[in-house]
């Protein structure tokens, strides 16, 4: 992501957040976004125009509440991907 696109998205999120609560300062931010638009590449402008309707103003798009099941005992060496020593006595290893 280019720095220009990053700045544009930051302003857009802030603008939409203000817009949602009908804060008139959203228009100030919208005006500030205009010159940034012209700093974007054709590809970036195309991507912005092609976006579906998503809640961009929310800084987090998917929030999942995790409980104790998120913190588990570490997977131990019994699951190791490579053998600890040389393979011996096999007719065929694979």
């Amino acid at each position: 992501m280019s720095p220009e696109l990053r700045r544009y998205l930051e302003l857009e999120r802030a603008m939409l957040a203000l817009d949602e609560v009908r804060d008139p300062r959203a228009d100030t931010l919208r005006d500030a976004m205009d010159p940034l638009w012209f700093d974007l590449s054709d590809e970036e402008q195309g991507w912005l125009n092609s976006r579906q309707e998503v809640p961009l103003h929310r800084p987090r798009c998917i929030t999942l509440v995790v409980g104790r099941e998120f913190y588990v005992e570490p997977m131990t060496a019994e699951f190791r991907a490579a053998p600890g020593g040389p393979i011996k006595g096999w007719y065929s290893a694979a």
Partner: protein, 132 residues
């Protein structure tokens, strides 16, 4: 432009891919692939990777022009891989179970605890997936 495929989810131009609480967990930049992976303190084992450098944790990073892999030093378990397939497109596999976090990707999606996050497209978010 950055598109990250994370367990059947497509994350476009998102600054942080995963966060736990207020702490970012995973960030990826492209050209070349640069990874930051920071586990929360509640994890059983510590792991801090900042821009492809190990700051804390028993892991080894293997990287090439279009690929970054992170392995445990004990047992060589692959806990993270990012492969850049196109200039703006990277496919990510993650499995943090060796460090005590129930989070991993497979063909179904991104498994988090007992939940699966699958087939979503997230665009332009600061944090695409927030856990807390």
């Amino acid at each position: 432009m950055t598109t990250v495929v994370l367990g059947t989810n497509k994350l476009e131009n998102c600054e942080w891919l995963i966060a736990v609480g207020e702490q970012p967990l995973l960030q990826i930049e492209l050209d070349p692939v640069v990874v930051s992976l920071v586990l929360p303190e509640q994890a059983s084992l510590p792991l801090v990777v900042q821009r492809n450098e190990v700051a804390r944790g028993d892991v080894r990073i293997v990287q090439s022009e279009h690929d970054v892999g992170i392995f445990t030093t004990e047992g060589y378990l692959l806990i993270f891989n990012a492969t850049q397939l196109e200039p703006d497109h990277v496919v990510v596999h993650i499995d943090l179970r060796p460090f005590g976090l129930a989070i991993f990707t497979d063909g179904e999606g991104l498994h988090v605890g007992k939940s699966i996050i699958a087939h979503n497209t997230i665009q332009g978010a600061r944090t695409a997936i927030a856990l807390g």
